[in-house]
Symmetry: C2
Subunit: 571 residues, 2 copies
């Protein structure tokens, strides 16, 4: 491609409305433009990267035996009624009406559509297992779209769905997909981790997420230093302390704490070790509970894990915190003074809390706390559960090593769905015994457009993007200095362009009438892995300059050798 | 691809709800499945064809210097307000609201979005001309989706938009696109015609449609036998008769015609030559007219051309026929008895009608006609215009030859838009003189998914589809007879499969445990151009059978020679 025939659209200034580096760089490098909140147009440079990601995803999906299809973006509401998700799915599901006032949705995911297809097309166990996938535009009406294409409303996903007659067969395909995902992210040239994940609103039993590691990631990923264990913090179990609860040494006393509404204030004002404090969080109970509210207790230095809490018996899902009014009505005090002593609603304490003695907590009376609380003596022994996030240094739930935490961007998610969708939609086949059997399903997603942003989050420097070779918009930049004045420079540039293009290399030939500095900066900003700089003076010695974007390495290379050098480096 | 790892999904019975052959065959060959009215899932076989069409379109667009981008499906209403199309576009434009009750549309076309992009990205004439395209999902909420993917609601289009500072430059790119379209349809292996077209609701000056010729086409395409002239019948001019109007020979008489409400009834009951009759059609006038209604007159054997009529001064656009009540209120008679004599509303007569003498028409009195009407004497000389469809045998408007008519399916449409969109959206650049200048635009569409259906309409027989080689889902079918019983057959089939796949040929290896007859029929139904049939008996003589889907040619070929024969045929 010649820059003069291309829409490079680079921008010098950092756009003020872009918070994360990938969004800034995608705007600056002319990869995307915002059309409206969460809606982006992919410019040529961005689309080239997107298509390369798509191609790698497709090749590995095909290699793993999945078959590509294409389902509509617009889906009839009927199917969503069948699975109950028309009601359950939040406002992210954009519900629309056609000209005949019939209900449709803009597909945020395609479980319903694929299950409808397969229940009609497949009738016998002999046609299974079957793994169908698509690369398609999806729409989620995010309340606050942000970070550019990282959390857009319209985006590109690869979604695959597999169908089986047994859990065993599902597990086999699940492993095949797991391996295919590893190959995909390997080929994309990204540092990533598959981690044990929560199944969330999609449902099902087992699940792994694939995270690209990056400081700016929205997820906390937990690793063991003693094993391969890796999990999303949402899912990582916090083991119970191994030491037994220490005996009580203090009597309980009521203390005036008028200026201590938070754990931090309490700790600072009363010289209480934070490990001796307890936070009390009040959430709503579900409809089956006798109570309206439930108290959740975690240690002062710990954080509630909402995913774990939401799964507790009698706790309402989705997890809903009680309002101050509701708390006052039930407990008689505000959120800054709550605790387990003389509490009239059910209490669930984290494992760490259950092991505490002589601790401080709110007195359920505004401006007062109890210090020296002891379970059994001052408050009834609580129900105990794992409801906190693990922290760095916690023992690994696998039993080996201790945990560390890194930030990740979720770019893939695989699920064992079981019969979550096939049962409600009655997607069944005749099994080997000639009996009707509901199919067992798996589903496997990759955020294709999000990968583009995640790759940048992981690969950038002050000058711009540093693309992994496999997904660079162009592999080589040819930068001729003042070629409009030097016939010789133009000629050599043209030779390189022809030779590399013929060798199947994606080349951007910067033939603009721009100053060399502008061209260098643009090629660096766009992250093109290899650059050849051609100058009149070096040509006197039959030399050109080769520059590697990632290493920064610069080298004078003989004119005759540079094309071969690059082609060799690409192999 | 092995059939055992594939979703072939062929169907024996012709689906009852499919009217046209392409729709029937796409269902039977397992290419698409209906999800809801006008919404189709592309199964693997269909998607393979769709992608091949896409690839050819992309390659030729790139070759012609167009640059690929990708715009969102969901578009903000603001832009449609700017061009006025929010109001003008009918209910085919699906208007939706997001969770914040903001207005959006599902894009049926992208003039607004591209103009918004280019007015922001391009500021100088130096960046022009620019030709940007995308291959994207579009949505039109057709009132009556039909013929499968031929007239679906969700479909795939390639749409390109070019930007210029002069009409001359636009015309150059228009010609480049015209040539690129010819190369595309040539490579697709389709019989097609570029024809002069009406610009319709997109607007602009010059326009060509590209039609795939097929009996089932919805459009009439007009050709001259004496020149290259070809036009959509909507646009083909009907020249005025060269002979002058004959003198009156009859006196006008009022005739009772109680049972003649149509021209056919009149002609049959009164032995009147149809060329001596006139049809009177009443349409609404526009707001600037003094009248509410206007009468349009065409000869009894001619048809009104609604596109031409709609463009007449004072006629309302879109063309709207008056209701019987409105006609009775204005004229005093029903639609079966209308004519130009003593008519109180303005009359516009077709050129042929203006040349008539001694003709019959309704008397504007129920159950009565006048015979022997003559212009000037019995009715005022009418306003004259070309408002009819040409018919076979008409002289060509180019001045050479006479016209014939064929049916076509519109698969491409190119337009010179001028400043239709750029003016209302104020998309301007600084020109060479340093002054602000509104850009001149062209737009260029191809119905990618429709091409798949059109190709089938043109290429089929009783056994199924006959794909042109360039877009066949598979190029070669390997049909081993009873390979599950014959090790030798299986081995040879496997060898062919490996050799052809390595040569880059798309092969479907039918490794099912099916009877040979079932396999033959499926491969023919799916239209695979070349088949190799491997049987145990022929292998005794080191022979296999080669079969060509299009010619039906069958040939015994040496086992060692068949792969080379096919590879040679493909080049």
């Amino acid at each position: 491609m010649r820059t003069s025939n291309y829409l490079l659209s680079t921008v010098k200034e950092t756009p003020s409305d872009a918070e994360v580096i990938s969004h800034q760089l995608m705007l600056r490098a002319g990869m995307v433009r915002k059309l409206a909140s969460g809606l982006y147009t992919w410019l040529p440079t961005g689309l080239r990267v997107l298509r390369k990601v798509e191609t790698i995803v497709r090749e590995e999906m095909n290699r793993a035996g999945a078959i590509e299809i294409l389902m509509p973006v617009v889906q009839p509401a009927d199917l969503w009624h069948e699975t109950g998700r028309w009601e359950k799915f939040g406002p992210e599901l954009l519900r629309i009406k056609d000209r005949h006032q019939r209900d449709f949705v803009l597909g945020p995911t395609h479980e319903e559509v694929i299950t409808e297809l397969v229940r009609k097309e497949v009738s016998s166990y002999k046609q299974l297992p079957l793994n169908l996938y698509q690369v398609q535009t999806k729409f989620r009406d995010e309340v606050r779209p942000r970070f550019g294409v990282m959390r857009a409303r319209e985006f590109t996903m690869k979604d695959a769905y597999s169908f089986h007659t047994s859990q065993e067969c599902l597990e086999k395909t699940y492993q095949v997909m797991f391996d295919a995902y590893c190959r995909i992210f390997d080929r994309l040239g990204l540092e990533y981790r598959p981690v044990i994940a929560d199944t969330g609103s999609i449902g099902g039993s087992a699940s792994h997420e694939f995270h690209v590691l990056a400081q700016s990631g929205e997820d906390d990923i937990v690793f063991s230093d003693g094993s391969d264990y890796a999990a999303n913090i949402e899912k990582a179990e916090a083991l119970a302390p191994t030491a037994p609860r220490a005996a009580a040494t203090k009597t309980m006393e009521l203390v005036d704490t008028p200026n201590a509404k938070t754990i931090e204030e309490l700790v600072t004002q009363f010289e209480l070790p934070i490990e001796k404090t307890v936070k009390t969080l009040i959430v709503k109970a579900d409809e089956e509970s006798e109570h309206d509210l439930i108290a959740l207790l975690v240690r002062g230095d710990h954080e509630l894990n909402e995913i774990k809490a939401e799964k507790l018996e009698h706790v309402a899902a989705p997890l809903t915190f009680a309002s101050e009014e509701e708390i006052r009505a039930a407990v008689g005090a505000g959120p800054g003074s709550l605790g387990p002593v003389k509490l009239s609603i059910p209490v669930i304490a984290d494992r760490s809390v259950a092991a505490m003695s002589d601790f401080g907590a709110g007195a359920n009376e505004d401006g007062k706390h109890y210090f020296g609380i002891n379970w059994g003596r001052d408050a009834a022994e609580p129900e105990v559960a794992d409801i906190r996030n693990v922290v760095v240094g916690d023992p690994s739930p696998c039993g080996q090593g201790v945990l560390s935490i890194a930030r990740g961007i979720e770019v893939g998610h695989i699920f064992q769905l079981g019969d979550n969708y096939s049962k409600s939609m009655n997607a069944a086949v005749l099994n080997e015994q000639g009996k009707n059997q509901v199919m067992t399903m798996g589903c496997y997603g990759i955020g294709v457009s999000r990968i583009v942003a995640a790759a940048i989050e992981q690969n950038n420097d002050d000058a711009g993007i540093i693309w992994p070779e496999s997904i660079a918009p162009f592999t080589v930049a040819i930068i001729p200095m003042n070629m409009h004045k030097s016939h010789r420079v133009a000629e050599v540039a043209e030779q390189f362009y022809q030779a590399l293009t013929e060798a199947g290399v994606d080349v951007l030939f910067d033939d603009r009438k721009e100053r060399p500095g502008v061209m260098f900066k643009d090629m660096e900003l766009c992250g093109i892995p290899h650059a050849i700089v051609i100058g009149d003076r070096s040509l006197d010695n039959q030399l050109v300059e080769y520059k590697n974007r990632r290493t920064g390495e610069k080298e004078e290379v003989a004119v005759d050798a540079v094309v071969a050098k690059i082609i060799a480096a690409l192999k």
